[in-house]
Subunit: 228 residues, 2 copies
DNA sequence: CGGCGGCGTCAAGGGTGCGTCAGGGATGGC
DNA sequence: GCCATCCCTGACGCACCCTTGACGCCGCCG
């Protein structure tokens, strides 16, 4: 689900945005001033920020610069100012789009979709290693592809999900409960037999010698660990 | 140097843009209609496109769709229409920004800088392959043409759109939801029966043996993948 | 030495997703 | 106004995936 951070000090505008966004299945956080905005952005890692420039505690452009110091998240600026200079300043500070109030909700939502859409590929490349290689096989998380001895390995959705969690936590121990909850959902946690079955599948499809696994390692009583 | 493609049928607007852009050390191509725009885009690979929606030969939205079939180049739309519907349509078709005439040159240039800036990292990837060949058929994304055994293959608009998304993500798995949203619109996501029908069409028209597809591969429960 | 818990393996069942086909409705061109 | 084309929809059969249970093995502890 796409997460939006709404920053505005006027409650009625925030309310209107929140209602419209939630109705369209966005997850929404809201901040009323710049400090809160920067804090929430750091804590929640939104996929897009809607930012009013007229904030009580600090200049909106400073908020943009604060965000741009560490993230490329799309920033959509709202402002009552029509002045060209303000727009140029905000855009050059790192904003992605600039909408003047009063704005049409349809247009705003369309601009929001556009901003999220073009940020999509960058999200996958966001510093993470997408391709993981071991001596025996290769996993491409972006393409959802596993290759062993030059041939593609077919994995079922559940197998993929499990493999993904393990690989993303590469080297670290992942507890059984955590695996169950991430793959099967939050209401699971004790069905360790699922793990046994699917770990066996993964080993059979990827390990060179499934009975003596080198990459999918069992930590008895605790969980599993992926080692390259 | 940044290369800009300007598309507008009004000579004085083109002239104003060209002068301003060249003064700021952009390299500029200009097109007066949609057909010429698509042609120049394919030939010159601009870093950003400035597109007037009111063209003499075709609807501006069609130009956007034509470009989006094979490239993610930023598209900045110019238009005299202030209607919200027009903006939404253009943005959802794949435009990155929408500026209404009359526009301030400073603002336009700032929006252009913003569009170019955020496209920068993706430019290095250079995934702009326009013609894709397989053992069994050839797809030319720019010319919107598919050839199999020396003959042109007729594809319906929806079939094309689906093929485009798959080919553009060549080798990568594309989830069912992503396919549905890109081809049928943002409000779709669960109608997997559409996909089944149209994937069957594509396979029937392009695969050598439609019942044993080699290029349009199903990943059960997850999505589809194009392999050359 | 015997019991016990955790793990790996295997096989079978029920359910779900996928491919296929055909028909109705909408749309656009002549 | 007619006709062709394209999109959507439903039904059906099949293959595959998830789940579940049983069984044997190993290490640990009493």
């Amino acid at each position: 689900m796409t997460r939006v951070l709404v920053v505005d000090d006027e409650p009625q505008i925030v309310r209107a945005l929140v209602i419209n966004l939630k109705a369209r299945k966005y997850e929404v956080d809201a901040a009323a001033d710049g400090a809160q905005a920067l804090e929430l952005a750091a804590a929640r890692h939104p996929d897009v920020v809607v930012l009013d420039l007229g904030l009580p505690d600090m200049d909106g452009v400073e908020v943009i610069k604060g965000l741009r110091g560490w993230t490329r998240v799309p920033i959509l600026v709202l402002s009552a100012r029509h002045s060209s200079d303000e727009k140029v300043e905000a855009l050059d500070a790192g904003a992605d789009d600039y909408v003047t109030k009063p704005f049409g909700m349809d247009e705003l939502l369309a601009r929001l979709r556009a901003a999220v859409r073009r940020a999509e590929p960058a999200a996958g490349a966001g510093g993470d290693e997408v391709v993981v290689e071991t001596e025996d096989f290769t996993v491409d998380l972006a393409a959802k592809k596993a290759v062993r001895e030059g041939r593609d390995v077919r994995l079922t959705p559940t197998e993929w999900h499990l493999l993904e969690v393990l690989v993303r936590n590469g080297g670290k121990l992942v507890s059984q409960k955590q695996l169950l909850q991430e793959v099967w959902g939050p209401s699971y946690g004790t069905e360790t037999n699922y793990l046994r079955v699917y770990m066996a599948q993964l080993r059979r499809k990827l390990e060179a010698d499934p009975s003596h696994p080198r990459h999918f390692i069992t930590e008895p009583g605790m969980g599993y660990r992926f080692e390259r």
